[in-house]
Symmetry: C2
Subunit: 308 residues, 2 copies
């Protein structure tokens, strides 16, 4: 089952306590595509770049056989650019610069032969653009996953609520879940949010893992405790890409398979943070991924006979 991913393809300048990288390849759709390509050989991308987008980024997409028919390349324009600096704890960061460039006028056009996809990942974009992608599909995909952020809750709440009605899986972080639901308790927040549309909800808690909610079911995956987090940029997008990549590659949206997808997503994210940008995931091997998943198994699995 092919997977359509929509989001940003960007250039990032990132400063962490470990170093600085200038104008490297980033963006949500980039991380979705590279992460999901581990599990699904047929990834199709819709995004936009300027003519400054570097060759090595294109080569990475091509190396992973990612279909770029939906990637608009605007001659004479510049790619979306973000610059940020992480604090020492790596859990917070300051945005130093945001240049929308091609994103300011981005009109996501879904190529004709992408319009029957069964799996659709809508990255964090203006909710009206996310809706516009959905509206171009010939049929309702089997699974639609959406990522968003607090900025849209503040500035485009009605549009966001509108698109949420058409979504199966929503992924947000814990603070965003609280903001969206106006509930402090994560359990109460999740119940309220699932009434807004999404039947499945993933609440990301950064270094404290992620919770998957569906009806009365709940699954928790820890983040792997790492000795060093080098660059957290893209971890959430790699997680989401790994998650829907695995679901689409296995063509199984049962809750049990979603648990596995959360673990694979967490594993890919744990690699993403080891180097700047896409460097680590680009070179990742299947063997390394399997070993990392085994570490997750070791981390949480226990064997208990109830005493009662």
């Amino acid at each position: 089952m092919s997977l359509l991913v929509v989001g940003t393809v960007a250039l990032d300048t990132i400063e962490t306590p470990f170093g600085k990288a200038e104008r490297i390849v980033g963006g949500s759709a980039t991380h979705f595509a590279l992460a999901s390509s581990f599990f699904n050989p047929d990834i199709r991308l819709v995004s936009v770049v300027g003519d400054d987008f570097p060759e090595y980024g294109m080569n990475q997409f091509k190396k992973k056989n990612i279909n770029l028919e939906g990637l608009q390349i605007k001659q004479g324009e510049k790619s979306f650019f973000w610059a940020g600096k992480y604090h020492n704890d790596m859990n917070s960061r300051d945005t130093l610069d945001t240049q929308l460039n091609v994103l300011a006028t981005f009109d996501p056009i879904v190529p004709e032969n992408y319009r029957n996809e069964d799996f659709l990942m809508l990255g964090n974009l203006m909710p009206s653009l996310q809706k516009k992608v959905l509206d171009q599909m010939n049929k309702r995909p089997k699974l639609v996953m959406l990522d968003t952020m607090n900025f849209w809750m503040d500035s485009a709440c009605d549009d966001l609520m509108d698109v949420l009605k058409q979504v199966d899986v929503l992924t947000i972080n814990d603070e965003e879940a609280r903001q969206l639901s106006k509930e402090y308790s994560i359990i109460k927040a999740a119940k309220k949010i699932m009434e807004m549309g999404p039947r499945y909800l993933i609440i990301k808690k950064g270094e404290n893992g992620a919770l998957l909610f569906h009806e009365n079911q709940l699954f928790f995956a820890p983040a792997l405790p790492l000795e060093e987090v080098f660059d957290p940029t893209g971890a959430g997008d790699s997680f989401a890409g790994g998650f829907i990549g695995y679901l689409s590659g296995t063509n199984d949206i049962s809750f049990d398979n979603m648990k596995r997808a959360v673990i694979y997503g967490s594993a890919i994210a744990s690699f993403c943070v080891e180097k700047f940008g896409i460097d680590r995931v680009s070179e990742l091997t299947q063997k390394e991924l399997d070993e990392r998943v085994q570490e997750f198994v070791n981390l949480v699995q226990f064997d208990i006979d109830l005493m009662g």
Copy 2:
């Protein structure tokens, strides 16, 4: 295998967003004893109270067959008293009042027939008092577990480092682990702390669960996401009591059994926070505990066949 628990037996006045409870029974040794009594019928307590300690507290201990020979009752004196108020997020609190009372002159005397215990839980007390308990034992216990806090790291660091050399399991929270090790990364912090003496380290992360470290092994248990946390007081002590209660009751200190002990400790802690003080754990049934452990199983267990 009997278990000796040493710590405070206190009166607490607690204010949470859900209400206020005045001069209720609390203290670390109280929570250790009640939690561990689920798994071990032979719990022995060393602590001190004044003559103001209420009958219902004594009755709870007696109901659970906790041996009170080592509980000093100081006539004409008052019990250790603590008053605190939780903020709305329940993750932080202000101490409103601390009256050491009998604790100011507490001299922990281990009764002669407690001195051959195989399992010893040293609650958060002045490190020199923890050492004094250890020095009274006729033989080195099979497992010594110690809880401490940032206050002693600041005010009695040498004594703390001294007692840590004689400890098998240390339990502290993540901020304390960072302070003790001077490392931000929890993995690096754990390695450094295990070089200070403890072969096992439990780092508690509150609502984000707990990590168990031993050599190169690592186990993570989430806290159960709860709809409502009523009163977090004593959750950490209930966790520790459940942990060492389970280890001593099964007389098995293998790493696999420690994983189970972490889960049982987390389960008891998840009940502790549902009511004020000892109210919920006092009325807890084996059936409820088993059901709660099953919820932990459901929360984290997944079934994966590696793809490689």
